[in-house]
Symmetry: C3
Subunit: 268 residues, 3 copies
């Protein structure tokens, strides 16, 4: 069965991984609801006084500097330290890296602290790898294909998985490249669908860390889960308000079999 | 009529209490929408420059240190001072107290500043009372029953009402213990249903402060309102996205009679 | 055709203006979703390290000091500088000005930095013009009519457009006064409908800056778009949870012709 990576979906629901999100204020609520619907438990502990302590008990950590206060930057640095000390997998979402100077410098400074996964759009991944100029905020202006080289560079450099979100998603490890066709364009019209995918990636990594599912498969499954939910939502709703509601419902309702029937996975 | 505590629901709608929420960034939007749907008016004034000034005109104040920046802690301290000076009832939600050191210390420092009510899950109430070790973030790992002793300790110590959220809610004053059976498990899958209940508790206290309804009954009614809305939502929706929408609708639509028919109140 | 101002709705969808929002934490998610549904692209870049840099590439900037941290105030000041240097139109939403001292002083300090538009309720506009005492938080306690004098003062002083939200909206420029009847009372029960209208005003100004549509017409069209979407939502939903969903859907679905048929515009 080619879809064994989807066993990780079942593990998320069984293990209810605790995901610590140091993320931007715009998407905190949506991210928490995505995690809850998918079977994980969110906690947005992001202050320097508490973030390292919490990273030691969390099952996964997300770092997303979308609206980074000076204090939250400190919290992120501490959380990464705490995660590494406790062997908690952490995920880097380089939101708007390349487009804005300060966060680009910050992301470049933490990319070598062994994130278990990096998730961004093509522009962000290209910029993070030092290969391009980046986009305007959260838009992807480079195509996903262009990002393949950048993702492979980053995967080798970090030893982790690099995921590039786009019309087709690209999941890259040092020795493996997987294309995922799933999702729906309407996902772009709901704020936080990309950012919460970073959090869900941390959930999948945390839920599978003691299983025989590879990190690559866990990251792939997180993307397939979101993509399939987007497809189900698009069958029920044709405008972004009701689509967002249907998307959360579908994250909760969908099972591994339904995900497998909806998405298209291709190893390169 | 045993349900006279529900007269406070009508008072909330008549008086549209202004509720100042110093709360975490994750649930601000949801909390505001819960207050509006229930009949109250939200205002998230949480900076040290403004929070005391606003607490003097607010009808109720919520303190919830879920994502507490250094500046918000200062704002909380000032808001409590302003509330006490103006006799504005304030509510303490000790979110994740016991599980995280800094906020535990902060909560222990303000618990003696006479909160009109404290609302948390069993782990948080047990930890705040100094009787246990606390949970992992926002989960309740102690049962509500175990929290009874802790709630009674806190009620006596503060002179206020202590509410413990769980499968059954427990409302405790110095001389009264009430069990409330209401709600639906799906409430756990929507972020902010607990945190916004803290805000709604402040609304109920503010709306009834000049009535002959006791603080105990006001807190009980806030919990019954939320629980009944959860039950109505569960009749309409079976996944958390549509459940959240139906929950807000039900908070707005439900009247005291419907609440009374849905919830089960037992004096101990 | 009297509704040529609605050509700007089409321009928003064609140009997908990038709107930088320095706004309060309560409404960030909803504001982003409103912008996306209407056809614009949101980016909540609000730190002093990045806000000026981003204002140079944004098509419009919103300044809304609803929950203003010290750092966000600095970010706002820098964003306004960046916007002015790059000729990016910026919109001031004086939320709760008049009711709270610090933000009132801040707003009075920036009102002369040539906002392209100011959008608030009657109390806020009256207070900003120095003519009244302001309200309790976000409520409008002065009638829209009373605000006419204040709006005209501010329009002359800034050279921009001043919009007063109320039962009827009032759009005022130095030489023009337009009344807009649209919307639905249910809009008041969803947090962020007013704040996101400020952001949408920036989107409309940004999308039309190189067209022959006047700033006055662009601001009017933003208000008409929101008002019409509120009317459509009210036909589909009678409680605020489902109303909010239907409102986002309607922002996305409605076209200029439907807006024209729903709203009532009167030049004074």
């Amino acid at each position: 069965m080619a879809n064994s990576f989807l066993d990780s979906l079942t593990l998320v629901r069984q293990n209810t991984p605790l995901v610590q999100c140091l993320t931007n204020s715009v998407v905190m609520q949506f991210t928490a609801n995505v995690l809850l619907a998918a079977g994980a438990t969110p906690a947005m502990v992001d202050t320097p006084a508490e973030s390292a302590e919490f990273a030691a008990v969390a099952n996964g950590v997300l770092i997303n500097a979308g609206t980074p206060s000076a204090e939250q930057y400190q919290g992120m640095t501490k959380a990464i330290e705490g995660a590494r000390k406790a062997d908690t997998p952490w995920v880097l979402d380089p939101v708007a890296v390349g487009g804005l100077s300060e966060r680009t410098k910050y992301a470049e400074g933490i990319v070598d602290k062994q994130p278990a996964a990096i998730r961004g759009n093509a522009s962000e991944i290209v910029a993070l790898a030092g290969l391009g100029a980046g986009g305007r905020g959260v838009d992807a202006t480079d195509s996903v294909e262009v990002a393949l080289e950048a993702a492979q560079l980053l995967a080798k450099r970090t030893g982790g998985v690099v995921a590039v979100s786009g019309a087709e998603d690209l999941i890259v490890s040092a020795d493996r490249v997987t294309w995922l066709r799933s999702g729906d364009p309407m996902l772009q019209l709901v704020i936080g669908t990309g950012c919460s995918l970073g959090a869900l990636t941390a959930a999948y990594l945390g839920a599978t860390v003691d299983s025989d599912i590879s990190a690559h498969d866990a990251v792939l499954a997180a993307h397939a889960h979101v993509g399939a939910a987007g497809q189900i939502a698009a069958q029920k709703a044709s405008a972004p308000g009701s689509f967002a509601v249907a998307f959360i419902d579908a994250l909760y309702d969908v099972d591994a079999q339904a995900v497998a029937s909806l998405v298209d996975v291709r190893e390169a």
